[in-house]
């Protein structure tokens, strides 16, 4: 979500050994605005953590609230149980924008925009911050929805674990544009270009037990493609 707490953050995130890619460095960006915009465009991240010495990557909902990311789940879920003392995580958000078809198989690629956040996640113990995080996660996916739903009650808040990851060690990576063919390949008889890819929202499907008198909210995403198309 776009809301930002009082504290004014520095203009960009510092490049670190972990956030400088070993390849295609020109695609990396550390600008706060770029990173925030990419995070705000999504609501599903892939959260990586270590369990029993092995990596685990799970898709989960998230929210950006200023310079914090919130991820929620059941108090029984693995990453959240481990987060009490502080859980090293890598949280990645990826938008796929296109299939890049070069003349050579080698130069095939995709256009994408991704954000990778490294850090140590901590359980949110303060009930007020946990409630704020739950609202933020609902707002991240459907802005305007939190105020138009029943807020979590004490029992639900107690059953919900929230972890917080501060935006400190962060980088964005963007691949855009057409194929990069070898000069000697440009005369080859193969079609070359980009097939745009985007996320699309369909016509909302009311629940079976929805009171027909309740109208479709104006804040729902209109049907149609988002992003690169």
């Amino acid at each position: 979500m776009a809301a930002t707490p009082a504290a004014t953050p520095p203009p960009g995130y510092p490049a670190t050994d972990r956030t400088v890619p070993t390849r295609s460095r020109e695609r990396a960006a550390y600008d706060r605005e770029v990173v925030h915009a990419l995070l705000d465009e999504g609501y599903v991240c892939h959260l990586g953590f270590i369990r029993d010495g092995a990596p685990v990557v799970l898709p989960t909902l998230y929210a950006r609230y200023g310079e914090r990311l919130y991820v929620h789940g059941s108090t029984g879920s693995r990453p959240l149980r481990g987060a009490a003392p502080g859980l090293p995580v890598c949280l990645t958000v990826t938008h796929v924008d296109g299939l890049v078809l070069a003349r050579s198989a080698f130069h095939h690629s995709i256009n994408y925009r991704s954000v990778v956040v490294h850090g140590v996640a901590h359980q949110v113990t303060d009930a007020q911050e946990r409630a704020l995080a739950l609202d933020a996660i609902v707002e991240q996916a459907v802005p305007g929805r939190a105020a138009d739903s029943r807020r979590a009650n004490a029992r639900e808040l107690a059953a919900t674990a929230v972890i917080r990851l501060d935006l400190k060690e962060v980088s964005a990576k963007v691949r855009a544009g057409g194929p990069n063919d070898e000069p000697e390949d440009v005369t080859l008889p193969y079609w070359t270009g980009v097939v745009p890819v985007a996320r699309t929202y369909g016509t909302p499907i009311p629940a079976d037990d929805l009171d027909p008198a309740i109208a479709l909210p104006a804040y729902l995403p209109p049907a149609g493609p988002r992003g690169a198309v």
Copy 2:
């Protein structure tokens, strides 16, 4: 890609401590057909590995070839460099199908289909298998394209690293259907239902230097939504 090598695999993947979720176990599936179909529907995965004791999650292209997954990248890329002796990884593929708006903030969710693969990835040293993997990765994103492009030459194959992860410890997880509101919430005055989400392909954009005489290939994905919409 759909092609399957000679060996006939057992009907399902064994449930292990790592592949039995701690929550929503009814959403987990181990059927080979389900897992294969979900993997074949995608081409971008999130690959998790451990670097300097911390988790790293990067988006990357992949291909399924029978009971193997292939991921490729530069020989300089971090996960691939580490894969020579065998790199513990978690490879996750996620399809988002819908936003689930319950009457209570607590029961908001998303409809999704994901596959999580645990295992040890190994570098593919055999040049023939590496060439096969590169074709498979092109085919995974655009079936029919590998044969309609210039295959990788010796120099390109030498510059490309491929890691292989066999499908042994695998599970799928699927959330579908409408919201699950609390019985006491069904009379609340909030709209409730599902907003479908799908991947959409746009109209292909030819490269600036494409010979206008070269027609759009029939194997390109037709413009329009895929999946849940």
